[in-house]
């Protein structure tokens, strides 16, 4: 009982160390209990369908068991987990789109996007329901970076570390994503 209790109170990082050292499925079960709800709701918000969100959550945790060794501890585990979840969702959507032999129109319009700094105030003025619909219309990678920044409150530095790119590149991607979001918001 005491051992079980101690497992429940240990930090994510200690838990991960235990899992990677012995591939312990019991410890992985504890990690699942901690993050299943967050991952499922992130998938649901990203994809919009309960069935697909369930399949994605399943696949994400199975993949996580194999890929957990790649977590180096540069960022907090929860932060890394958000990015891991969004990456999987983005790949899933891009695979699906490729299968349908279609492309995201937003990617084609990259060159037309104005590079002026887009103010956060414009984002915060948005109505939640309209924002949700607009997010579904922009490309999945843009949706992911916007959610990391504005929903999960990650700093530019955190995002740069997770994506292994420079902070200026993150700012540029964020700016493009915001421009496209505002564009879609006007048309919704």
């Amino acid at each position: 009982m005491a051992i079980q209790k101690s497992f429940k109170t240990i930090s994510d990082e200690e838990l991960i160390q235990g899992i990677t050292q012995s591939n312990d499925t019991h410890l992985f079960g504890i990690l699942y209990d901690r993050y299943a709800s967050v991952v499922y709701n992130k998938c649901l918000g990203f994809i919009g369908s309960k069935e697909e969100a369930q399949d994605l959550t399943h696949d994400i945790f199975v993949k996580l068991f194999v890929k957990l060794k790649t977590f180096k501890g540069d960022a907090k585990f929860s932060t890394w987990m958000f990015a891991f979840t969004y990456n999987h969702c983005v790949n899933y959507l891009q695979r699906e789109v490729k299968g349908k032999k279609n492309t995201f129109s937003v990617d084609e319009n990259y060159g037309e996007v104005k590079e002026d700094e887009v103010s956060d105030a414009l984002i915060f003025e948005m109505k939640a329901e309209k924002l949700n619909r607009s997010l579904q219309l922009i490309s999945p990678p843009e949706r992911a970076i916007l959610l990391l920044k504005y929903q999960d409150d990650l700093s530019i530095k955190d995002i740069a570390t997770l994506y292994s790119i420079g902070e200026s590149a993150v700012k540029m991607r964020l700016n493009r994503a915001k421009s496209n979001l505002i564009e879609q918001y006007k048309n919704v």
């Binding site: 699942y32 299943a36 309960k50 369930q54 959550t57 399943h58 199975v62 915060f124 929903q151």
Partner: protein, 64 residues
């Protein structure tokens, strides 16, 4: 006045289906079995055979 972040209002808050845990854990146990089997065949068996051969050789040398 501080503006409200609309991204926070669109966070989903649904219950994860219980059955999902069983499916995930079943697959995780299968993967662990596969990993353990791979480790057994590719690392542990060769290592024990190597040790066995070495021990036999050492015993033979001692006898000589």
């Amino acid at each position: 006045m501080k503006m409200e972040n609309p991204f926070k209002s669109i966070v989903e808050n649904q219950q994860v289906p219980e059955i999902l845990r069983d499916h995930v854990m079943k697959d995780i146990r299968l993967i662990k079995l596969a990993l353990d089997m791979t480790d057994l065949v590719s690392v542990k068996y060769p290592s024990s055979i190597f040790n066995l051969l070495n021990a036999a050789e050492n015993r033979k040398k001692k006898k000589d």
